[in-house]
């Protein structure tokens, strides 16, 4: 059991040492920063094998009581089950690789120590999130990762764009926190606790007397999940978050933090399972988000933003997976996505490194020659995310689409969902291969820029290669027909509280074949357009200007939010401070003060300054007092 605390406290220890250790040499930072996460990963592996033998053991360890106020009692504890273990492995494992990569990537930065300090804090917060045994500490970790995300997006705080993006990310995430908080209040009101296990045990009881409660709770939890995972309609912060250093994008905004929403839904599956309405909402949000993000990625010219939109799109797939009650497949896709998306970001980071932090893909091209390792890793990851058969993304995405296909047999409107998902799979292939072709193939568009392009050093190359390998073999965790052991194992998590746990769907060959066809079509289109024709940047939009502009401007959502939400609040604040505070609030006070002043101006005449006049008035008072006693009876 103690290994959990070991895993949890190591990154915290790293954070604390790094935060106060300003005299530490750079080499020590480079060892300590990734080192603690590496050790934590080792401990997580030990924990995993320890548990794996005993199928799906669930352990709840309480560290201490956090607060007691009447019957509001919250403990800080860890819940170890297959789901938590998988998340723990991803966070520490991928985290370790990305931190290793950062050692090379950030080596030139003056704030080297601060970077690892924040990264360790992030890993700690993420571990709190996934290991917590109660919703309250889930929220603590939830806000903690939001904070570190904010800090790391704004890591280069001299850049106004980074500062603005960080602020946006923080505020949007806090909107999600609000939803979570209210959900927690309702949970406490009905369950008198915030621990997972008692809540999940009593879901049927509460359902028995109030069906809408669970629906409202899940919808509010969904607000949090949507904000954190950058799904519609709270997605705007994720593309802007690419202002942060690339390892941050890889770890936080691709592999781990943004998938916390999926984790939340999977973790709360007894609640979501009891709220079919919410599940439908999750599916619809996921499908729309997947399609929306794919279209945005199609038109974007910023290498990192394309990847950001693709992240959003892939997480949307996971949402559909968990929304369709196929929790294991959602988590499976989460796992494979962590591999190939982190690898893609690392590749993008290597490209940026080589091209002096240039991110505009219209100025790239032909990097395959100078950066072969990066190209091959990128290619593998691109194929994986596109769903090219036999790579990891194919299996995980196929499971999700297949489960929707399966359920569509019973629920009519899911056909629309399934069609859109299949279409989006094709779009994914299109935009990813567009990226690949424009960046690595063809000829150099800006030779001067690419003059010194070269593969990154070993410390960056190695993690990239490891992840590329994982992107290939990760899918065989659930090879169709094979034992599908990740699904089997996770099922221990997803069968505990709900007798109606979904059966893992058998492979839907019809669905698989259609998806493969659309993917092939997407790749072929990308090949035709971006490899063979290689249009000038201006020509791209010319074929369908309206749609292109719509995609390029992200469907005008950002501008809409700015005009409809942000500015009105600012204007309200200005109105309050200039009009209400000055004239109404102060006006009431100063008005009464003025009234007093005016009346006192008249009263002042009474004050003649002659003492004898005053004495006379005293006498008048005395006479009145005597008069009162005389006439009282």
């Amino acid at each position: 059991m103690s290994s959990v605390w070991f895993i949890l406290l190591l990154p915290l220890f790293g954070f604390l040492v790094l935060s106060v250790g300003s005299p530490l040499p750079k080499r020590a930072v480079a060892v300590l920063g990734p080192g603690v996460v590496g050790v934590a990963f080792t401990a997580a592996i030990v924990m995993f094998f320890w548990d794996y033998g005993r199928h799906g053991v669930t352990r709840d360890a309480v560290a201490y009581t956090w607060i007691v106020s009447g019957h509001f009692v919250v403990n800080f504890g860890a819940l170890i089950d297959p789901l938590a273990t998988v998340m723990c492995l991803i966070v520490t494992g991928v985290g370790f690789l990305i931190l290793l990569y950062s050692v090379g990537y950030m080596s030139e930065d003056v704030d080297f120590r601060r970077f690892f300090c924040y990264m360790d804090l992030f890993v700690f917060a993420m571990l709190v999130l996934v290991l917590s045994d109660s919703y309250l500490f889930l929220l603590v970790g939830w806000a903690g990762v939001g904070l570190t995300s904010y800090l790391l997006i704004g890591f280069w705080y001299e850049r106004p764009a980074a500062v603005a993006a960080a602020r946006q990310a923080l505020v949007v995430n806090v909107i999600g926190d609000w939803g979570m908080m209210v959900a927690l209040f309702i949970l406490f009101l009905h369950f008198h606790t915030l621990q997972y296990v008692p809540i999940f045990k009593h879901v049927p009881a509460v359902l028995g007397y109030d069906g809408s409660t669970v629906r409202i709770v899940t919808l509010l939890l969904l607000v949090g999940a949507v904000a954190k995972s950058a799904q519609l309609p709270l997605h705007v912060w994720l593309p802007n978050a690419m202002e942060g250093p690339t390892p941050v994008s890889a770890l936080i905004h691709a592999a781990t933090m943004v998938t916390a929403g999926v984790y939340l839904i999977a973790r709360s599956y007894p609640l979501f399972h009891s709220a079919p309405f919410t599940q439908s909402v999750v599916i619809i949000i996921g499908t729309c988000g997947a399609f929306f993000a794919a279209t945005c990625a199609l038109a974007n010219n910023d290498i990192k933003r394309v990847l950001a939109y693709s992240t959003m799109s892939q997480i949307a797939y996971m949402f559909v997976g968990v929304g369709a009650a196929s929790y294991a497949s959602g988590i499976f896709h989460l796992t494979t996505h962590a591999y190939f998306k982190a690898c893609l970001f690392m590749g993008a980071g290597a490209v940026m490194h080589a091209l002096h932090d240039n991110v505009d893909i219209r100025r790239m091209g032909g990097l395959k020659a100078t950066m072969p390792v990066t190209f091959w890793c990128f290619l593998i990851a691109t194929m994986a995310i596109s769903g090219v058969p036999l790579l990891s993304g194919f299996f995980s995405k196929d499971e999700i689409v297949g489960s929707v296909y399966l359920q569509a047999q019973h629920v009519g409107w899911l056909w629309i969902i399934w069609i859109m998902l299949a279409l989006t799979a094709g779009l994914t292939a299109l935009y990813m291969f567009r990226l690949l072709f424009m960046v690595f193939l063809g000829q150099e568009r800006d030779p001067e820029l690419a003059l010194h392009a070269h593969d990154p050093p070993l410390v960056m190359r190695l993690p990239m290669m490891i992840l590329a390998v994982l992107a290939v073999i990760g899918g065989y965790l659930a090879f169709p027909g094979a034992p599908n052991w990740i699904g089997n194992w996770l099922r221990h998590s997803f069968e505990r509280f709900s007798p109606v746990a979904p059966a893992e769907p058998a492979t839907q060959w019809a669905s698989v074949i259609i998806v493969i066809l659309t993917v092939a079509l997407g790749i072929f289109a990308a090949y035709r357009i971006y490899y063979q024709r290689r249009p000038a940047p201006e020509q791209v939009g010319a074929t369908a200007p309206a749609i292109y502009r719509l995609f390029l401007n992200r469907w005008y959502v950002d501008g809409l939010y700015d005009r409809a939400v942000v500015r009105p609040i600012i204007v309200l604040g200005l109105f309050l401070s200039t009009v209400v505070e000055r004239f109404v609030i102060n006006g009431l006070v100063e008005g009464s003060a003025a009234a007093l002043r005016d009346s006192s101006r008249d009263m002042r005449r009474v004050q003649s300054g002659y003492v004898r006049n005053y004495a006379l008035s005293i006498l008048l008072g005395a006479v009145l007092v005597v008069g009162y006693y005389v006439f009282r009876r």
Binding site: S19, S22, Y64, T65, W66, I67, V68, S69, G70, F72, R114, L136, L139, V140, W142, A143, G144, L147, Y150, L151, G154, Y157, E158, R159, P160, V163, A166, R167, L170, V171, V174, I175, D177, W178, M181, V182, F185, I186, F188, L189, I569, I570, L572, G573, L574, L576, S577, E581, I585, N586, L588, V589, A593
Partner: protein
């Protein structure tokens, strides 16, 4: 055995005990303040004065007071004394003052003030440290006033007699007036006049209510237990409660009576801002819980909805205002108003969680606001401006300062894991249990809080490292101005956070983190008393208005126990509640571990041997 409230109890008279530690605690700062005035101020040969001895004495007194207050925290008797509902007054010190007017000198510690007293002394120790660093003009008078104000505030926290409370309530106002009016900035006279007129207006109405209570209480006793035993009629409660709430709400910056607060906070010198915003505001919220709620439970239940709505408006209003301010100090002022209204909202929830959270949040807010306002002065010393649009990218040159700013900013936006979250969450849980919509809407403030605080934080330390702000035009002809004072300063500091500045911030930061990581020791101490208050309020809700609070006491220095039948503890027969006596163990026991074991045994034996008090 007598029940307080029928008549002054003979056994209670003049039981100050020896040494009267609470009295020493209470008057130590004021005595030191008056002593300060006797110290000679030595002129320096190069002009100005050497305030070193004065500052040493003031700081020593402040630290000694803090140390003494921690003693009460350590010695405070934990747990619920074997009962679910009781209201034990520990370390009571009772002396007659004007017995014919029902006025006694009655001090004591319970769960409500056990944390607020160390908050007051601790924050004041920091504020006085800040004053030593930041104030050189007439420093002696400044420090003396700070110390006298500290006694006033401690008196409010410790008083168990309504009149004594009122005396200290007014006592703390006078130094505040001078602190703002003499050492303040720019529009200090307007600000301080507004502050004083507002406060006095409210106070007088409260005084009328106190007179009424004196006149109507049997035995004309203004001691709290006596008043609790004889609640006023429900119709009288209405206006009495409103009279109290007007006075206390003004001081606590309840919307819409808050408009003195931003001006005063901004114009006051930073140590005085800390005093007013961090501690003085808490006296009001504390007094609502101590006096206004339990004495008028029926009215409290009657008005809780209305007052909650006002508080919610204040929360959102303050947050929206903070969003558009340019002056970094004014942003904090409005954020403080927003948070104070949240504390009030928790109080008006009238249940255990709301009250527990409010008290926790009072301490949090005091600590965080103290840290933030001191940071404003520290930032100002380096930026030379307080305008957000004139400063940028200070983190580059002052990373350590940026780090502390970050921590306090996170605390102010209620980041989970830091102290204010524990308080805020508990408050909102309480509010949710009493009215779900109130909590849902009030929770929206977290979004606004994150927004304005991140704007504040980024405006100061982030952004391009641009040119520094223009030199202020006001000249620094007076040698006594320090770099921290607005708007005149001698030169800009170019070093990162100095050790002496860190000495102020680090303790505050440590408290913020501690209360976030493990707030249980906090609520352990408040919960029993809060349960008693909540019990009174619950019984007040059920029409009768009679809380049936009784007090039992022992002639010698014993713990005073107020028994409250909250009608909830069904396991206990509610009619005949045996009284619990506890001797003041602090007096008889030499060492802490020994005391601990003996405390338990004594408690048990006393429980067994003493019978019913009714």
């Amino acid at each position: 055995m007598l029940t307080l409230g029928i008549a002054p109890v003979p056994g209670m008279a003049n039981e100050l005990g020896f040494p009267p530690l609470l009295t020493i605690l209470l008057f130590l700062p004021a005595t030191a303040g008056l002593l300060l005035l006797l110290l000679p101020s030595r002129p320096r040969p190069e002009g100005g004065y050497s305030w070193f001895p004065v500052k040493c004495l003031a700081q020593t007194a402040a630290l000694a007071t803090f140390g003494l207050s921690v003693y009460f925290l350590v010695e405070f008797h934990l747990g619920n004394l074997g009962r679910s509902s009781h209201w034990a007054i520990q370390f009571p010190e009772h002396g007659t003052w004007l017995p014919s007017l029902g006025i006694s000198y009655f001090l004591g510690v319970d769960g409500l003030n056990v944390w607020l007293v160390p908050l007051c002394t601790g924050v004041m120790a920091v504020a006085i440290f800040a004053a030593c660093l930041m104030i050189n003009r007439r420093a002696k008078a400044f420090l003396a006033l700070m110390l006298i104000a500290e006694t006033g505030m401690l008196g409010v926290f410790l008083s168990w007699n309504l009149f004594l409370f009122y005396v200290f309530w007014e006592l703390m106002l006078v130094p505040a007036y001078f602190l703002v009016g003499v050492w303040g900035e720019g529009r200090r006279i307007q600000a301080t006049t507004k502050f004083v007129i507002y406060t006095i207006f409210g106070s007088f109405i409260m005084l009328v209510a106190i007179f009424y209570l004196y006149a109507t209480t049997p035995g004309h006793n203004l001691d709290f237990p006596a008043l609790l035993a004889h609640p006023p009629s429900t119709s009288a409660q209405t206006w009495l409660f409103l009279a109290f709430l007007l006075a206390l709400g003004i001081k606590a910056a309840l919307f819409p009576f808050h408009s003195w607060a931003p001006d005063t906070y901004v114009e006051a010198p930073v140590p005085a801002t800390v005093l007013i915003a961090s501690v003085m505001g808490k006296t009001a919220t504390f007094a609502i819980v101590r006096f206004a709620l339990p004495l008028f439970p029926h009215a409290a239940n009657q008005f809780s909805g209305l007052l909650s709505i006002l508080a919610i408006l204040g929360i959102l209003y303050g947050a929206t205002m903070a969003l558009v301010q340019i002056d970094i100090k004014r942003v904090l002022a409005y954020s403080s108003i927003s948070h104070m209204n949240l504390i009030l909202l928790g109080i008006f929830a009238l249940n255990q969680q709301g009250l527990d959270g409010s008290i926790l949040q009072m301490v949090n807010h005091g600590v965080i606001m103290a840290g933030l306002f001191i940071m404003v002065a520290i930032v100002y010393a380096r930026s030379g401006t307080r305008r957000l649009d004139e400063m940028s990218g200070l983190a580059k040159a002052f990373p350590v300062m940026g780090g502390f700013l970050l921590l306090l900013f996170l605390a102010a936006m209620d980041l989970p894991g830091l102290g204010s979250f524990a308080g805020e969450f508990t408050i909102l849980v309480g509010v949710f249990l009493s009215n779900a919509w109130f909590a849902t809407i009030a929770a929206l403030v977290t979004i606004l809080a994150a927004w304005y605080m991140v704007r504040w934080f980024q405006g100061i330390v982030h952004g391009p490292v641009g040119e520094q702000a223009p030199e202020p035009t006001a000249d620094a002809s007076d040698e006594a101005w320090t770099v921290y004072e607005f708007p005149v300063r001698r030169q800009r500091l170019t070093k990162d956070l100095r050790w002496i500045e860190m000495a102020m911030i680090v303790p505050l930061a440590a408290v913020v983190i501690w209360l976030g990581v493990i707030p249980k020791p906090f609520t352990d101490r408040t919960a029993p008393t809060v349960a008693a208050v909540a019990g009174v309020l619950r019984s007040g809700a059920h029409g009768s208005g009679s809380a049936a609070g009784t007090v039992a006491l022992q002639p010698k220095r014993m713990k005073l126990v107020v028994q409250v039948d909250n009608g909830v503890d069904s396991s206990q027969p509610s009619q005949q509640m045996p009284c619990i006596w506890l001797p003041n163990l602090a007096k008889t026991k030499p060492s802490l571990p020994g005391r601990l074991t003996k405390r338990i045994t004594t408690r048990l034996t006393h429980q067994m041997t003493h019978g019913s008090c009714q």
